[in-house]
Assembly symmetry: C2
Homo-oligomer: 239 residues x 2
Amino acid sequence: MISNIEGHGHHISKQFNLELEEIKNNMLEMGGVIERQIADAMKSLLEGDTGLAAQVLTVEDRIDSMEVNIDEECSLILARRHPAASDLRLVLAIIKTVRDLERVGDESAKIARMAIKLSEEGEFSQGLVEFRHLADSVTRMVSGSLDAFARYDAEAALEVVRDDVAVDKVYASVMRSLITYMMEDPRSISRVLNMLWALRALERIGDHAKNVAEHVIYLVKGMDVRHEKLADVEEQLED
Amino acid sequence: MISNIEGHGHHISKQFNLELEEIKNNMLEMGGVIERQIADAMKSLLEGDTGLAAQVLTVEDRIDSMEVNIDEECSLILARRHPAASDLRLVLAIIKTVRDLERVGDESAKIARMAIKLSEEGEFSQGLVEFRHLADSVTRMVSGSLDAFARYDAEAALEVVRDDVAVDKVYASVMRSLITYMMEDPRSISRVLNMLWALRALERIGDHAKNVAEHVIYLVKGMDVRHEKLADVEEQLED
């Protein structure tokens, strides 16, 4: 579906239009780096690859400077171009989205740090299957939210919001089973806790993907749906 | 100290000036509600007051609608008034700050939920002293960051950034001692975990207070210090 705000091409000022496109592209490029970080962080944990984990940690600085630069570009375009209506929503949605993306980067770094700790503590399989399962889900959510942004697709964004409900349920159930395991085998406490932190980081990544999806819905539909119930949002989108 | 951007009073449009002031006041009012939420959540945990914890959870919705309303006011002022320079920074800082405040509200609600769980699990003293200590520190950080915003005081904001370093250290040390305790007394695992989550929520509140302080420094000095080292920020503020 192509959205109802594809009209970014109709500006009197061609230059303004190019500037908006460029900021959006920079944000999507940052999104690409983040997707790679998530994938590498997850792989480093699942395969005990500490070299890859260390690499994830070095890329963090690059993401931070991407966030600051895009934020600065957004401030400049607000100051110089006075965007209105959907252009203004686009700039505000980008400002909010880069902040969520930066947080996803932080959570990926946490996973990489847990990968290093888990690897130092030796063989450990508890929770790995569930980690892989959740990791696949939140990876899809992040990609889905960025694709929805690129295509101004509110329906696809809503799909991501829906996915977050499922991810939260899986997360809660894995947490319960790992806590039970820890009680049955107290020697595992330290390792299980590291796995818990890694799972929590996954759940947080899912939350941020959901936030990005909500920014897309705001951008396309002009509705702030952040604190609404899912059923209400679905109803409003149908109108 | 009064900052170098007190010039918000010099607008040609008196109405515009009033609008900016009103948004700022709404944000500070939201900050006041949040400070109350933190205090109540902490008290509910320390005193096992589940009634107070339940009250914290009911106030959450009110905070969510405050965030959405202030965000909307900021969008409107951007669209209608085309603020520039320090006015634009003020609006952007408010947009970012209300998001952090809303998250502080979320973390307070988490503490209230842990208060209810801990109370259900019966007598428990492990970690309470440290919880109180950390709670005092992050409460001061939140108040300090809001005061710094109200007075456009970059020095006071920097103080909050410094405090976060200390809070993170205390947090890491409490976590280690609670994990050791859990290993020595596996029957305590479930209760200690609830205390861990509550402590983690405190640490996150400290992070958000630090974010607000960084928005104040950006607002007053026009510098984005989010990913800079503390020593570098101090040096730049002296210039």
